[in-house]
Amino acid sequence: MALKLMIVDDSNIIRSKINRTLSQHNMEVVASASNGEDAVKLFTTHKPDVVTMDLTMPRMDGLECIRALRKINPGIRILVVSALADKSTAIQALKEGAQGFLCKPFSEADLTEAIEELLGDD
């Protein structure tokens, strides 16, 4: 059965790229959001298994959104996909509850590998 995916990124092109890539890897995109606020609303409705999360977004940034999603579902698996390339940001995202961090720019192979690592033995 396909895993349900929610994509959160303020770039339409990035959302489209993630959708194209992961739809070919047994994932069904059930929701997309361009900011954290919308993501929290859609998360409750669509109950995804996996979320890809940008960090720099309008209205509610990615770290705040991760905290909100983890309150709703502490077991949610979150891959941060961000241009913020410093180590401390990656560490902070992991502390907030993300399980993986992929730095932009990324290739389709990078994304697939990061998702496979995130899912582990699933």
């Binding site: 770039s11 092109i13 790229k17 241009a83 390339a85 410093d86 940001t89 932009k104 290739s107």
Partner: protein, 148 residues
């Protein structure tokens, strides 16, 4: 900004194109520009910088360059909306990647994108703006870095 910091931006923009398209851009000689005569092409993505450094980083590009870049990243929709989105994302990625060198106090805004004659772009007048001319295939763009 010193030469080493300028080199950071040259490396990042080269790596961006290399990673996304397999072909790095030709980077022309950087030069200092006056706030009143900065390069502006069809679409411009601006990132405000705050924290320890203040100013802005912007990417400005010809429509045809962005169209080709979109196709290279697998996006067939080359509408103006996606060209705007792309130039903002390039500016965001370059600025965000610069934190690897400048650290987390190099705080970046969400991109602001303007199209056409972008008179609204304002760089700090008291700070020098470094212009990195870019040519990718036969199309022109520029990365402008103005940091206190």
């Amino acid at each position: 900004m010193d030469e080493q910091q300028l080199r950071v931006f040259i490396d990042i923009v080269s790596q961006y194109f290399e990673k996304q398209t397999g072909k790095a851009p030709d980077v022309g000689s950087p030069y200092l520009g006056d706030a009143s005569s900065l390069p502006i092409y069809d679409f411009t993505g601006v990132i405000g910088i705050s924290g320890e450094r203040q100013g802005c980083v912007y990417v400005t590009a010809h429509r045809d360059l962005l169209r080709q870049l979109l196709l290279h990243v697998g996006e067939s929709d080359v509408s103006d909306n996606n060209l705007s989105d792309l130039v903002g994302e390039v500016a965001n990625t370059i600025s965000g990647n610069a934190r690897r060198y400048f650290g987390p106090d190099f705080m970046i805004s969400v991109p602001v994108v303007v199209s056409g004659n972008a008179r609204a772009i304002q760089v700090p007048r008291s700070v020098k703006a470094y212009i990195l001319p870019l040519r990718w295939h036969k199309f022109e763009a520029a990365l402008v870095v103005s940091l206190q």
